[in-house]
Assembly symmetry: C2
């Protein structure tokens, strides 16, 4: 029986590229594996897949009775709905340790680095398996995406060294140019339904038994949102009600200015204001220097909820 | 600030030797660390420490405000009581994934192998740090203990290869003889208070919101228990009441016959009988081939509770 290798719900590039890269590695070391996904690839991810000649992994929502290798999270809310009926054989991740548990021993490759694909590169090195050119390409793009081309405070020297190694393997001379091309694709919002934008990179968190949804859109210039910001705000308010969430926030991140505008709807906006030490202005807060949901947005909010 | 490296409550040799070995490694790579422990070393562990010239790590029960690297488990019930007020910076383990969570990214080195010290050896190799002779000795003993000199079904080829490497480093020619010597120390029960025996290697598990305590005593010949078995049974019944546990079990493991007698007190003995497919006889069950609590005792019981 082949194991499935799958990232989180509303998959980002790290989840999709990581599933492909890890499934290939597992097959090479004699453990049959198949990449899968829990949702549609984003335009950014599709750009990466097209660029290096990959099909998107199989869309598969149910995993009861299967063996599953989890990529890029360890949270029940981000895992397949029926994960309790599956056997988790491994986790590769770079986030805080979530509430997934198992009833049998497993492998966990979790490191405080900028991207799961950096950890997957360590797995290739550990097993002495050569990374094919095209897989090196998608891994490199995933790392540039998660680290915002090394600008994110989550970026570590391990991520930078990993990208340099992968660029050599993939034969990419100017990976920064490739990264900017990718972020320009990511910045295109025209013609995309507002709900699709809100959900493009959206994660639910359990904060002291409150459901908190946090989305993020990273663009090269925040002015792309000028005409649709009111619609985005109306939509996150709807999303909050639909999911009976305590709070929904949308981070609009300007990767060139290196900061984020936070749009907030909450049952208790004081918690959010306390978390970031700033008052909201009509449901908005500008957070200078904030690029990382994981490192700069989630932990203070979790503290404020505790 | 130095991080503390600490194993589980009622520490076994893996927890104590692992804390010493990992703290040394962390210091070598420029991360100040200090080994500590959550309880007294067992006679087996004391034998290992004496043999290779180590003091027991500092006894420390409270970790609020500290950075902590967790060894040999990922369970709240086995961690320091105030672990929620500490920052978990890493976990090295070889068990099922438990219910510890964090609010910040961390490193997890978890592998489905026979012993945490086998994983710690991988960490030394990853960082390219040489293992000192005496540390190789205590790591080797911890692996022989956890794998019952390679007889346990939890033992993997990685554990065997690791012991062979460590034996070379430590200059130990006959590691099996060393293992038998260690298990003979472990088998001495004369003069030890019954409660001390029950708690010598005792772990609490949360099984579907029921507290289940499981102790294990590994000896080279079960006849050492003939005179005290009734006292052991009376004591686990007391322990069950004192801790408001649903079930307490004590595994008496014969490492030469390769099987275990299970002593059971439970609010619902049917769950236990269902788990192992055998009826109790006056609160006792003989389980042929069962050496491993982790692999052969906990998972079926957890299933039966689910
Ligand atoms: Mn990621
Ligand atoms: Mn262990």
């Amino acid at each position: 029986m082949a194991m499935y290798v799958v990232g989180h719900k509303i998959p980002d590039s790290d989840s999709i590229c990581g599933a492909i890269a890890l499934a290939y590695l597992k097959n090479q070391i004699g453990e049959p594996a198949k990449a899968s996904r829990l949702g549609e690839p984003s335009p950014e991810t599709q750009f990466i897949l097209d660029r290096f000649g990959f099909e998107a992994p199989e869309l598969k929502m149910s995993y009861a009775g299967e063996e599953v290798y989890i990529v890029d999270h360890s949270e029940l809310t981000q895992a397949p709905d029926d994960i309790a009926q599956a056997t988790i054989v491994g986790i590769v991740d770079h986030h805080k340790l979530g509430d997934l548990t198992t009833s049998t021993p497993l492998e966990c490759w979790i490191r405080p680095v900028g991207c799961s694909n950096t950890v997957i590169k360590m797995m290739y090195d550990f097993h002495g398996v050569e990374i094919p050119k095209d897989i090196a390409g998608i891994m490199l793009c995933a790392i540039l995406s998660d680290t915002v081309i090394f600008k994110s405070p989550t970026c570590t020297t391990a991520d930078i060294r990993c990208v340099e190694d992968l660029a050599k393997i993939a034969g990419i001379e100017d990976y920064e140019a490739l990264g900017m091309e990718m972020f320009k694709v990511k910045s295109a919002v025209d013609g995309t339904p507002v709900r699709d934008l809100v959900l493009r990179d959206f994660k639910d968190f359990n904060m002291n038994d409150n459901l908190v949804g946090i989305g993020q859109l990273e663009v090269v210039d925040l002015s792309v949102f000028d005409k649709i910001k009111a619609d985005l705000e109306a939509d996150i308010a709807k999303l909050k009600e639909e999911g009976q969430r305590h709070t929904v926030m949308l981070l609009l991140t300007d990767i060139m200015k290196e900061g984020s505008e936070l749009l907030v709807v909450s049952d208790d906006v004081n918690i959010v204001e306390r978390a970031y030490g700033k008052d909201t202005d009509a449901g908005r807060i500008w957070l200078d220097g904030v690029l990382s949901r994981k490192k700069q947005v989630v932990p203070p909010l979790q503290e404020a909820f505790a």
